[in-house]
């Protein structure tokens, strides 16, 4: 059994983050020391590495909790995890597409504002943003 500090050191995660993971139901201490400190089994470090890798792939903590549930479910198969990974990829691709559209819209605004020495009241970017919002200039 290891303390929270030791677990934090093993996984390069802060004590506060570990407590947050616990509050989110991602990890659970195996017990408490006589002095009342949380104690974790060595498998917790593996679980935390899993959480960190999943976060790097874009999974939210709620989704990671779901993945951990699948991992421990007897009847689950690789296809269950694969579908979740494909869904995450769809979400990421969708965000990339939206961000590309935003970048393109900014390109247009930037190219339309060719004279950077004009006073700000005549700034075409501000005017375009105001128009896009449907508001009138004040």
């Amino acid at each position: 059994m290891i303390t929270i500090g030791k677990l934090a050191g093993l996984t390069s995660v802060s004590n506060d983050t570990l407590r947050y993971y616990e509050a989110e139901g991602l990890i659970r201490p195996a017990g408490k020391s006589p002095a009342g400190y949380r104690l974790y089994d060595p498998d917790s470090a593996r679980r935390i590495h899993f959480i960190k890798h999943a976060q790097q792939c874009g999974f939210t903590l709620a989704e990671i909790r779901d993945l951990l549930d699948v991992r421990s479910r007897e009847k689950a198969c690789c296809g269950d995890v694969r579908t979740r990974a494909i869904e995450k990829k769809l979400q990421i691709e969708s965000k990339i597409r939206a961000m590309k559209a935003m970048s393109k819209a900014l390109d247009q605004l930037i190219s339309e504002c060719a004279n950077e020495k004009r006073p700000v009241e005549e700034c075409t970017i501000i005017a375009a943003l105001e128009q896009a919002n449907g508001s009138k200039r004040v």
Binding site: C77, C78, G79, R82, T83, I86, E87, K89, L90, Q91, E93, S94, R97
Partner: protein, 82 residues
Amino acid sequence: MFYSPGCAACEDRQSELRAAAQDAVKGLEWRDVNVLDNLDAAVELGVITLPAIVINGEVVFTSLPSRTQLCKALAERSGAGK
């Protein structure tokens, strides 16, 4: 219907839903689309969960519907429900 290969629930119900849809709407064209082979099309249509059923370009179901739910949605969109 967009699905991911290996989705056991999809395989079980795909043929049942296809038959129900084709019974409900005459001449209906049903396509089973492997999302991995058609990722761009899925993203374009707004599919972000699987399985998903798209009717006339609109994501209508983000999980497998019952036969009744599917037939109702098809009827509403084909004009037969009016």
